[in-house]
């Protein structure tokens, strides 16, 4: 069977609540690495300390540092007041690894296993049967419909607080299948430095991801220093009700926002209410966010993280069903977007390498 078209339609559907195929582990809990939270910009230091030590000197680093210098220079022509320094970051493939499968899909597959005892009918029903047999590729062979079934069975029908607890429990115990590290250690060290550097320069940093917002919020503050109210993502329909005397918010089966492609500027407008001046992505799903950000007046920064390091991370772009990067890569030069070459521009990819 030709799996490529299936994988591609999946990639589209997954943008939905964020996903794709293979195994994943479980193991002892490891505490999340913490990042500096939002803070008022400190006074400029007299000592020049490189705020981006994991970035090699080169065009990408120079473009980022130059942009920040321009918008923060109070007497300069490109000065932007701190309240308008909004920077948005895609998550999967931009802030943390998305290979060999989106982390949220690993979560969904693990959750099928956890819920299986209450669903004896899954033993003979796809996509659950294959998921339980440890064959996620077969589980996803049903395309969008199978995926939707997986998501519905594992992501909704609970309250926001119940789901929060489920995600916290999983993320503190699950491990990446290749590195054996907790998923929260699969974040890119250069991007953690960049988040902190922008915040130190008065920026407010937001995540704008195709992934599920309720899957990210439980851990983004600890891991990235980005609080829940600064996370924009795809979301389930919600309903407030008082259940047996207890107020709850229920997560329903419908999708309220697909925060991907043209959905990203919409999510940004709904939740942030102003156009970012800097945006960071890695795939064609981020094209519209970068287009919207960089077509505004004044100084603008659009950055694409290009996965070029097959040794320390993964090398993929046009042909990959996960994180497809073609149109945005073609457009980058004419739009003045910075393309970060992971292999060349980053001296460290993951913090655990050091």
């Amino acid at each position: 069977m030709d799996r490529a078209p299936v994988a591609r339609s999946l990639a589209g559907a997954l943008a939905l609540a964020a996903l794709l195929a293979a195994g994943c582990g479980g193991g002892p809990a490891t505490p999340a690495r913490t990042a500096a939270p939002e803070a008022a910009p400190p006074p400029p230091s007299a000592v020049a300390v490189d705020p981006l030590p994991s970035w090699n000197e080169g065009a990408a680093k120079a473009a980022i540092v130059g942009f920040v210098a321009r918008v923060t220079r109070e007497d300069g022509p490109d000065f932007v007041p701190p309240s308008e320094r909004v920077a948005t970051f895609d998550n999967d493939g931009t802030l943390w690894a998305e290979q060999p499968i989106y982390v949220q899909l690993a979560f969904a597959l693990d959750r099928v296993r956890d819920l299986a005892p209450q669903h004896p009918e899954w033993r003979n029903k796809e996509p659950f049967k294959s998921a339980l047999a440890g064959d996620p590729k077969a589980a996803l062979a049903g395309g969008e419909r199978g995926l939707a079934e997986l998501l519905a069975a594992t992501h909704v029908g609970n309250t926001t607080e119940e789901f929060d607890a489920i995600v916290r429990q999983w993320i503190s115990t699950a491990h990446h299948p290749r590195s054996g590290r907790p998923y929260i250690e699969m974040v890119y060290q250069p991007m953690l430095e960049l988040l902190a550097y922008l915040r130190a320069n008065g920026f407010k940093t937001f995540i704008v991801s195709g992934g599920g917002v309720d899957f990210m919020r439980p851990w983004t503050e600890d891991v990235y220093g980005v609080p829940p109210e600064q996370v924009v993502g795809s979301r389930a329909r919600l309903e407030y009700k008082v259940r047996d005397g207890v107020p709850v918010i229920e997560r329903l089966a419908g999708v309220d926002l697909v925060d991907d492609k043209a959905g990203k500027p919409v999510g940004i407008q709904q939740q942030i209410g102003r156009r970012p001046i800097a945006a960071f992505g890695n795939s064609d799903g981020d094209f519209e966010m970068l287009e919207w950000t960089t077509s505004g007046p004044g100084a603008r920064l659009g950055v694409i993280v290009h996965h070029t390091d097959g040794t320390r991370e993964w090398a993929y772009d046009r042909g990959s069903p996960i994180g497809t990067l073609a149109h945005a890569l073609d457009e980058a030069p004419k739009r003045g977007w910075v393309v970060v070459d992971m292999k060349r521009d980053w001296n460290t990819v993951f913090g655990f390498e050091r």
Copy 2:
């Protein structure tokens, strides 16, 4: 004709994009009063300066100050870390006056006048005919359907940036029909002090209003010190597109969220992603927000502003189609919610009185 049922159904519909009936003015621009923006909490002062000088001493002020002291005392049993100090405020009737009509309705009626030259058909068509004749009550006699027509004609079919400019222009020139003051001066001085006081104690302050989010965001930062990304409101459906080579976000005719009643906890979850620990409202439209806020674990604060001052402001509650307050007032004692008696608890209502 009995106008009460019409007014009541309107009050429901208006929660939608926020509205109700009578005249409104126009005049010279006046600069917005500014409020202190979000900032890191300053070190506790050795000198005791009353942070709430417009509040008379009494049970309401004591309850608010006592709550803040409890959640900020690091070694106390009710301590809440700053990142979780989320406070939400209704807008109409809680932060600024909503009589004799919701400000956003005054905006809609003025906009009918502005747009009339392009719509000769409005001269013979309700609700526009009555709106143009200066008779807003007749204009709204058509109930929800007429109101929906008014909103559709005046609020959508433009881009987010066009609408932002329209609101900025209007709010800087329109005047309140009774005080003759710019609408942005119809904000409550005690509530401005409360917003600043909470922020000085590490709270993040949000507006959560039934009013249109795009109607509020252009001025909330100047007037309340609340930036656009901390404003939750009712919203139109949005669509991102590239129009004649220019990326825009279009405001469509459908409603994406009615941020009122049970819609408020949903809006809070969508945009803030955590349950507030303090909530402030003035009507039954705020009931669910207060219920959701105060039913969480730990120290919680629910506050209702009760309009009791017919001299300095307006006196209304159960019988009023605007800002109906009945159920929430009845429930306040059993739920431990603080009821602010405007007449008794506030020594100043509007800053311009002084």
